[in-house]
């Protein structure tokens, strides 16, 4: 499989290229970035001979990894679809359901495959939690409490960081981190649909820095469970997913090294179903990236839906969009937390 990479940023440098370089069934043909020097430097590091700054100059490939900010993808996607290349998009997949729909429609017209990079689906803890929830062995799932956030202590980035630009990034913490957490919850619960009951966002300088969502998920035929999701960049909050059953809780770590613990009703840990791993350890992260690439390559070869098919992230896109519609960026930003608002 010949692969082209659009975007020479950190997720490509740290994750995608190391993994793709180690896959013998794959050949990375080129790296394309608006800043050509970045593409050249990255290409040199990983032995990719060709670098470009204009997608129109790039030679033929089978798959393009789209790893540029979601807010600026459309022109590039139009070129990619015109050239009938399969597309693997880094998260977030799309800013709105309309955009999501446009991508899928164009892909269908051009008869190409589209996938989304949501590597948390492949973390061992997520896979185990999903199996436990689906098995029914603990009874029916009643509630899901998920949160992720750390008070921002340093970004290590300069003024041009795309996440400082709401239009390029598509949003703040809800878009950037929330798409992972919402998708992880949806994956674990095998959610089919959702109902958003309330949402509150905290905006600073035009970007959301904290969000709290409450609602319910349809998890199986006529079965629902309630959910609460909290995200924050302004304060340290609990990082994990808690699945609440009638008589016990299952607590799931969010990261590749996260564990799964069986707890009593009060939350006291009884047994570790999967031990969290400590220390500097990225091994499992690369396994997750490898798994998602393998899924997508299989999807391209067989033209059958895989675990990374773009349709699978529709729920996440719609839920996040609904939150931003409910709580749009305020015109006068006073930095205070907005009231809880019911959807109209």
């Amino acid at each position: 499989m010949r692969i082209g990479i659009l975007g020479a940023g950190s997720v490509v440098e740290q994750y995608h290229l190391p993994v793709l370089s180690a896959m013998p069934e794959v050949q990375v043909e080129w790296v394309c970035d608006i800043v050509k020097e970045q593409a050249v430097a990255l290409g040199k590091t990983y032995g990719v001979r060709r670098s470009y700054s204009d997608l129109n100059d790039c030679p033929e490939v089978d798959i393009v990894l789209v790893a540029i900010p979601v807010g600026v993808r459309r022109p590039s996607l139009e070129v990619i679809f015109e050239r009938k290349w399969n597309v693997f998009c880094e998260k977030p997949f799309a800013g709105t359901a309309q955009e999501h729909g446009w991508i899928m429609k164009r892909a269908k017209e051009q008869k190409v495959e589209v996938g989304v990079g949501m590597m948390r689906r492949f973390y061992d803890a997520t896979v185990l939690a999903r199996k436990l929830a689906a098995s029914g062995m603990f009874g029916s799932l009643q509630e899901v409490w998920a949160s992720e956030g750390l008070r921002q202590r340093g970004t290590g980035r300069d003024m041009n960081w795309y996440q400082a630009n709401a239009d390029a990034a598509g949003g703040g913490v809800l878009m950037e981190t929330g798409c992972h957490l919402v998708d992880q919850v949806a994956t674990i619960c095998s959610a089919r649909s959702y109902k958003l009951e309330a949402c509150a966002m905290e905006y600073r300088g035009g970007l959301d820095y904290a969000a709290r969502l409450r609602g319910s998920l349809e998890i199986a035929q006529s079965q629902t469970c309630s959910f609460r999701i909290a995200l924050s960049k302004t304060e340290d909050i609990y990082n994990g997913i808690m699945l609440k059953f009638a008589d016990l809780q299952v607590r799931v770590g969010l990261t590749a090294a996260g564990g799964v613990a069986l707890c009593d009703k009060e939350g006291k840990s009884v047994a570790a179903l999967q031990q969290p791993e400590e220390g500097f350890h990225r091994g499992q992260v690369y396994a997750a990236f490898y798994r998602e690439w393998r899924e997508f390559i299989h999807q391209c070869r067989t033209r059958t839906a895989s675990l990374v098919h773009a349709d699978s992230v529709c729920l996440t896109t719609r839920l996040i969009e609904e939150c931003y519609e409910l709580q749009p960026r305020p015109r006068q930003d006073d930095g205070r937390f907005s009231k809880y608002v019911e959807p109209r």
């Binding site: 409490w145 998920a146 949160s147 956030g149 008070r151 921002q152 202590r153 340093g154 970004t155 290590g156 980035r157 300069d158 003024m159 041009n160 960081w161 996440q163 400082a164 600073r204 300088g205 970007l207 820095y209 709290r212 609460r228 909290a230 924050s232 960049k233 302004t234 304060e235 340290d236 909050i237 609990y238 990082n239 994990g240 808690m242 607590r251 939350g267 930003d333 006073d334 930095g335 205070r336």
Partner: protein, 382 residues
């Protein structure tokens, strides 16, 4: 007096930006961050935030030229060579801004090493053994070099372990306190080298408005708290069970190992790690390697075969025993067995810091922060 806080989005920088003018009225604070996302923490708080780069003289001048003093909290991290270059550029650029009359650099206890041994590391010649400690010491030396011969007053503060809400040290302490396998070595009676964030803020506020001459100072709580006192403060505030203490006898088993490690050269440590890695490989061989090993043994005299069998069994037994102990006992971090920092300590200002109402307030703040991240219900509490 206008004071710039670099790294204003960081653990200590954000606290100073929000509180320095409260601790010392008359100080006007300007927070400096690298990008708008970092500065967002401070937006809406009423403090001025400037976004700019400090790694070049033009950027530093534009951000700092109207400031009387700078508290330099910013630190580039990542790969050592690149981080060092950025840190060096920052210090150089800040030192070139002519209007700055006072510069306070926040260094660290890490310059003395993870497990301070006063027989080895001194105030004048500290011996860092981590990349963080080495970088901090390098920045101290750069600051002294770039400021030599200038009329600027410079303070280098070797901060002890800073604790309080939003501090990584408090988070680490609370994690340890919640782990039933953890016990404080030497009954927790060693001096901690710790300092509460609020106390540090008072000390910096006093330095900014006082007349003390340039100097390098260690900074720790006054009176210097034991680890037991610091841990108890955390567990009382958060209603966690007090931590157990390890007896002196059991602790003495640990201490030589830590001290010896601190004395070892880089080559000796690398060799020891290599031997330990090789041993671990032997204990987890695949069946095909094992088969190869058996074939090789078959070529040896019987007495050699017997020796190898006994040796190998001893390694497996040792591994299994260690894993049993690991399940019951967490080896304490090295810094819990440190000596106090050697040399000159800063005299902290006499304030109402120790008053009961302020103590209670600090504990409440710590507990509110703890509740938010320790429980899935935490983010929904307010």
């Amino acid at each position: 007096m206008r004071v710039a806080i670099t790294g204003a989005g960081g653990q200590i920088g954000s606290y100073l930006t929000e509180n320095l003018s409260i601790l010392q009225p008359g100080i006007e604070v300007v927070g400096v961050c690298r990008n708008a996302v970092a500065g967002a923490l401070l937006e809406g708080t009423g403090f001025t935030v400037r976004v700019g780069t400090l790694t070049d003289p033009v950027g530093a001048e534009s951000v700092l030229n109207d400031c009387d003093a700078v508290v330099h909290c910013a630190l580039a991290t990542g790969l050592p060579v690149r981080a060092h270059s950025q840190n060096e550029q920052m210090i150089r650029s800040i030192c070139r801004v002519s209007g700055i009359k006072k510069l306070i650099f926040l260094s660290s206890v890490a310059v003395y090493g993870m497990c301070i041994d006063r027989e080895r590391a001194s105030f004048e010649d500290p011996k860092p053994d981590t990349s963080y400690g080495r970088e901090k010491l390098a920045q101290e030396r750069s600051l002294l070099k770039f400021n030599a011969g200038t009329p600027r007053t410079n303070y280098i503060l070797r901060l002890g372990h800073v604790y309080g809400p939003n501090q990584a040290m408090s988070r680490r302490i609370l994690h340890m306190a919640q782990d039933s396998r953890f016990a404080l070595p030497l009954e927790g009676r060693l001096l901690s080298n710790a300092i509460h964030l609020e106390r540090l803020g008072e000390a910096i506020a006093r330095l900014l408005t006082g007349n003390a001459g340039s100097g390098v100072y260690n900074v720790a709580d006054e009176p210097h708290q034991t680890w037991k006192a610091v841990f108890d403060w955390h567990t009382e505030a958060t209603e966690i069970m007090p931590v157990r203490c390890l007896s002196s006898a059991r602790s003495e088993d640990l201490m030589p190992g830590y001290r010896n490690r601190a004395h070892r050269s880089f080559a000796a440590r690398a060799l020891a790690k290599g031997a330990s890695w090789a041993g671990a490989q032997l204990l987890s061989v695949s069946p095909s390697w094992k088969e190869l090993g058996y074939q090789a043994l078959g070529l040896m005299p019987e007495r050699v075969e017997q020796k190898v069998k006994v040796r190998y069994r001893a390694m497996v037994v040792k591994r299994d025993i260690e894993s049993v102990k690991a399940g019951e006992f967490v080896v304490p971090d090295q810094w819990l067995t440190s000596d106090p920092m050697p040399g000159l300590y800063m005299d902290l200002p006499k304030t109402s810091y120790w008053e009961a109402s302020r103590q209670a307030d600090r504990k409440q703040k710590l507990n509110r922060w703890f509740q938010k991240w320790s429980s899935p219900y935490g983010p929904w509490a307010s």
